[in-house]
Symmetry: C2
Subunit: 769 residues, 2 copies
């Protein structure tokens, strides 16, 4: 755990330069706009430790996988988030000496992420080996208002010399992925050109054939005046640059403004890329840096209007929650239903793929409440569009008749994960995808979605479950063998309670939705029956038989759901009794020892209780929580939030707050020593959930929001924005009670502390605690 | 399945050349002498499909492993059997045109492995693209009498032309491993030289630093006369050759005799290698090819005296059983306790490593009966010497206090396998290593071995088991969680009956041996207690408690041992009811489907019943056999033999013979379409077991051999040699009964058909059926 980030309500601040923290800061200070993003690499050369990262959403590379022993059914490729052309580069020479902070005395250094307005600012004062001192200020952003573009203003002032300052703005496409399995480069050059005030590189990905045109234009200011210096064009493999040498005077600032754009063949014909790129660059450079920056601030203000959380009385918590929300907004905007939420967003390349079950289980609740309805709908449509591939995926594994198994990790619907115990067995992901449909409809009331898209997906998923169980003659019940639950510290277990529970829930919900669609829209239903070759009687009959005869492991003595068969055979030493020296077990223990142990990586039975809370009474929830939480090591960043929510429900406010703290500053404080690889984007949604569903106790019941809030002792109040069926609410929880402001024309009913209240349009409601 | 090998009692014969079978034949016709070996690659150039293979026992390379997702505890390296310098090469040019069967019309072709005398002979008549016809005869062998050497006699006769024939004998060290994980070459050149009539290359392995000197001398005969033609020396990277051009006359044979030797730094100081190599080459070339060949025949005659099996009435079976015995003898001679029995011997590089539990479970019975006692003793000492590494290996996984876990695959004692479900969980291998000690002592009566070496190994193994189980509060019994049994179609199961059974057996046997050593040799025992820090009371107390309170899964209804917890939850469709199109399931089904199924790869419960047969009554054996065999797909070559032995015991002669057939010609007929990778050496011992322990029903009881023979219907008689405590027996089983000849001065008691008999020294015993 580090503690070098300065507290501030709206900004992430690093002061002083410690090269050991550089890769961590590159992750934390990342920029993105849903369409493209980048790590906070320096503009000028840096020969120290760095992880270069520029990413274009949806552009991936199917790297040939690397496994020890091939298992039948493994996919051949693993879709990697691609490191793309770097448009940040501005090399700086001072009388020919390269400016490189790894080789300078860094007299002062400050990096600041302005979350309110969406830009990264860096100032430093450095002295080179030859004794030249310069002051630099660099501001840059990826535009939210114009999401194919970004800009940098880089200002350098010689402090103790006059002489030549050379600026070399470049587009450098000659990049590699650190996680390339066979040290391949993933891009081929298509074309490039240098232009009087800029240049571009067009590259094509191997195998997938995506083309991306990345270009720049720049202008230079000396003493605040734009000048037109002579530039020398430089071209290398996948690289273009302009070399501009200026006579600088001590104390006088020189600025370069670099406009950049990234256009992808996902959105344009390849042959039009260059023309459109140039048009885009002309447009933004005409508009100018200051205008772009103002648009950026406005776009972020609109975001914050819908999803800010204000915490009074705890600056560190305030900074953290905003950082989580900020990163989620940078990662996914919901504009494009081909995109999804990578576990590292635009902050690193680790894990590859863009889509995990994290999206449905953790991110959907965040976007449902804080973004327009279409954003979540697009996340759902993403899966709908990939249904065909999910069916193919299931076929590869021997399933039939339209059974769908969504991949564990994917870009385009194709499975690209290969560890048998996860790829083939962590099938509960299918359940989360169905649950997200339910969650979306429950929240939005958009029942039309079910007939249009949802039911078809549900049917594929339910079919999978109905084939995945088998009848045990011995038990005279259906069983689900060979699965891995959310707790990945167990592999290939039988009858994981969570998986079996969500499986029958999927079948039940599918029948329910089918009946509803059939009743309300018989034509649509008939079309679906025909499209899917649904034999309602036989198939739903089988679903019902499974629902009726499913086996769920249960311990009578303790009256708890059993995580899986045989769980109680394990040595039951609680986490609190484990020596600190043996934790985290995923670093200290061999894998078999972890598997044999009773320790739980993340909510498993409790994940089911979180999803299906309504089905369990408080005593049941408490017994299971009291049994499982003390056995949980929370070694996944997705673990604490579910526990925070359940603890809050059970009135255990102290533990709820403790769980919240575990993820709120996970990346800012580099809790797990892995932020250098990128931020934990999807778990950030969990942090939001811990506040809204945990502390504020927000739920949706029968088309109404309900709140059962409490306030962590250290805070004086907290408030958040919620969009719900047209109403725009700001909910403020303080010691005194709950205030709900409705900033819309839509009146809405809510339950507060169990009582129904009305929040009138454009009005306030105050409920005392 | 192929069927191109001609039947012959003593020879393996291929007639006609089918390039599609070439790699299969290269495996089948492999040569070896325990110290070195090679695939049956051609001497002259061959541009067709071939897998080059020359191997030097004990020389390996730790290739950096390739895994998908790293698990804690994985070894970093996988020891590969190294493809070493090729000394077979004799390039041939006919008036400058390269002789290459891939580019010729092959008019006739014959390859013959003479198993009786231990050489490979190849004849062909080919016509080159330009129309030149030649006849070639090539004979070669790896000398059993002088195991660092080999020789080739290569005779070429121009049939329709007179002209220049150029011969280029070479040593080619510029070889690669096909299974190199990162396409690395594993050898560096140390030195090389061409000499007037030969040359050598010394190479050093990267990382491991083994040096191997491979050299040749040659002589040339024309018209039966040795000639001394001018030779041009050729040197390239890791390559030396002599180019000899001769004026050949139509119809007159030219022969080259190439003597070769391989010396390794395992046996000599690196700086002496060249000198010793030259001395060796001088020695064998002075001796001459014919003398060497005669010595080879004599050495093989001595082998066959001890381990031939004669089958009357079935040539195909006769050929097959000899082929199995022949390959076992080529692979391991027991001269060197640093060596072991690789699963592919010297016939291919696949699987790497040299030592699997196959050695103890399948090969020990073969060598015990057919080779001097020291051969098996050396196999045991191999593990004794690696005890320290087995203790380190267990420590890496969190075990303490001298607990030893032998590796799944190894060269030098270091684990080099990494698939968590095997490496960490297929721990029953530890039991087989203990069982081999028991088996050796039971067979030989060499109880001194226990005090000298055996007990120390047993203690390490028993300690492992005592730490690997855990007390289940829920069951109030000890359980063994997270294991993979011999049936690798189940992974990470709980309470595998076989593993739990062999675990408690190990602890029981350890205590028994400790008590015996303590009573008979208190000083040795005291030394061992001190060396191992044995706390007899506490540790043996724990062993006893585990033995008493161990949980073994059992099905009361069927009265069978349960393979593992939950086995009966699986869908129980018998193998006979599986469509042929779905088999072998390891090719047709995804891995998860295999894991979920009830199908068994190889004997698991039945392996335990085979090992501990004495503990079970006939009904118990029958019930378990009747339950498990119909669920077994026998997709491991190690499966049928155990089933054959149990079927024979149960009087199911037809099935016993059927199982025997499945492995007897496994490689000769390329049953599994994988012989091109190499032969299944260790399963060949299983074939021997099926005859001797199956058909002849041989057992060792109370220091006596017993026989309960039957004869497969198709055979008129079969006989085999058995060495037992100084007696040399030949046991012949015919329809009439059993004849046992004792060719030694040691009288021995045997049980035949349950009755005790005496076989006097140098006498015969005849027992009617």
């Amino acid at each position: 755990m580090k503690n070098y980030i300065k507290a501030d309500e709206w900004r992430i601040i690093e002061e002083g330069f410690d090269p050991h923290y550089n890769k961590i800061s590159e992750s934390i200070f990342s920029l993105g706009n849903g369409r493209m993003g980048q790590r906070a690499n320096f503009e000028e050369a840096y020969s120290g430790d760095t992880l270069l990262g520029n990413y274009v959403a949806g552009v991936y590379y199917p790297d040939k996988t690397r496994v020890g022993w091939w298992k039948n059914g493994y996919p051949e490729y693993f879709a990697k988030v691609l490191n793309a052309a770097n448009w940040v580069v501005i090399d700086v020479l001072l009388d020919g000496e390269q400016l490189d902070l790894a080789k300078c005395e860094v007299i002062s250094f400050r990096r600041e992420l302005n979350m309110k307005e969406g830009y990264l600012k860096r100032d430093f004062h450095a002295k080179t080996a030859s004794g030249k001192e310069v002051k630099v200020e660099a501001i840059r952003f990826c535009s939210m208002a114009d999401d194919e573009t970004g800009a940098i203003k880089y200002t350098i002032t010689p402090l103790n010399f006059s002489g030549e300052i050379t600026l070399i703005p470049a587009i450098d496409g000659d990049v590699v992925n650190k996680d390339s399995n066979y040290d391949e480069k993933f891009w081929d050059e298509v074309s490039k050109a240098t232009q009087p005030n800029g240049g571009y590189v067009v590259m094509r990905t191997k195998k997938t054939g995506f083309e991306v045109a990345t270009g720049m234009q720049y202008s230079i200011l000396q003493n605040g005046e734009t000048i037109k210096p002579v530039a020398e064009a430089i071209e290398k493999e996948k690289y273009v640059a302009s070399k501009v040498t200026l006579q600088a005077k001590e104390g006088e600032a020189i600025s370069i403004i670099k406009y950049a754009a990234n256009l992808s063949s996902q959105n344009y014909k390849p042959e039009e890329l260059v023309e459109r790129l140039n048009a885009t660059l002309n447009r933004i450079s005409s508009k100018g840096f200051d205008t772009m920056l103002a648009e950026q601030a406005a776009a972020w203000a609109e975001k914050w209007k819908h999803n800010d959380i204000i915490i009074d009385g705890d600056i560190s918590a305030q900074q953290a929650i905003r950082f989580n929300i900020y990163q989620l907004n940078q990662t996914y905007t919901g504009e494009d239903d081909r995109l999804n939420i990578g576990p590292k967003g635009f902050t690193g390349e680790k894990y590859g793929g863009s889509t995990y079950w994290d999206t449905e289980a953790y991110c959907v609740p965040f976007y449902l409440s804080t973004a327009p309805q279409k954003v979540t709908r697009n996340l759902l449509l993403y899966r709908y569009k990939q249904l065909g591939k999910a069916i193919e995926n299931a076929q590869l594994l021997g399933f039939k008749n339209g059974a769908a198994l969504y991949p564990m990790v994917t870009m385009d619907g194709t499975e690209c994960h290969n560890e048998w115990e996860i790829t083939f067995e962590e099938i509960h992901r299918n359940g989360a995808i169905a649950f997200a449909i339910y969650n979306y409809v429950r929240y939005t009331g958009d029942e039309a979605y079910l007939g249009d898209y949802g039911l078809e997906v549900l049917l594929g998923i339910a079919r999978f479950w109905s084939q995945r169980v088998n009848w045990s003659e011995d038990r005279e019940q259906y069983v689900m063998l060979g699965v891995t639950g959310p707790n990945e510290y167990e592999n290939n277990v039988n009858n994981n309670w969570y998986t079996s529970t969500i499986a029958t829930w999927c079948m039940r919900y599918t029948i329910e939705v089918a009946e509803k669609v059939k009743a309300e829209n018989p034509e649509k239903y008939a079309a679906l029956v025909s499209k899917t070759n649904l034999d309602e009687e036989t198939e739903f009959g089988r679903f019902r038989h499974i629902i009726e005869k499913m086996y769920y492991p249960y311990d009578e003595k303790r009256q708890i759901f059993l995580q899986q068969d045989g769980y109680l055979d394990k040595e039951q030493i609680l986490v609190k009794d484990l020596p600190a020296s043996e934790r985290p077990i995923n670093q200290k223990w061999s894998w078999d020892r972890i598997l044999r142990s009773c320790y739980i990586k993340q909510a498993d039975v409790l994940q089911g209780i979180y999803f299906f809370e309504d089905q369990y009474d408080m005593d049941t929830i408490r017994r299971n929580y009291d049994f499982y939480e003390p056995r949980t090591v929370h070694e996944s960043s997705l673990s604490p939030c579910v526990h925070a929510i359940i603890a809050a429900k059970l009135g255990d406010e102290a533990r709820a707050y403790e769980f919240y703290l575990r993820t709120a500053r996970l990346d800012l404080d580099d809790y797990n020593n892995d932020t250098e690889d990128g931020c934990h984007i999807t778990s950030m949604a969990g942090t939001w959930m811990a506040v809204v569903e945990g502390f504020a106790g927000m739920r949706v019941n029968d088309g109404k929001l309900s709140f059962q809030p409490f306030i962590p002792g250290k805070w004086s109040s907290f408030s958040f924005h919620i969009g719900f069926r047209g109403a725009l609410l700001n909910v403020k929880v303080s010691k005194d009670g709950v205030q709900i402001k409705n900033a819309s024309d839509v009146e809405t009913k809510v339950l507060v502390y169990g009582k129904e209240r009305v929040v009138k349009a454009n009005d306030d409601l105050l409920v005392e605690a």
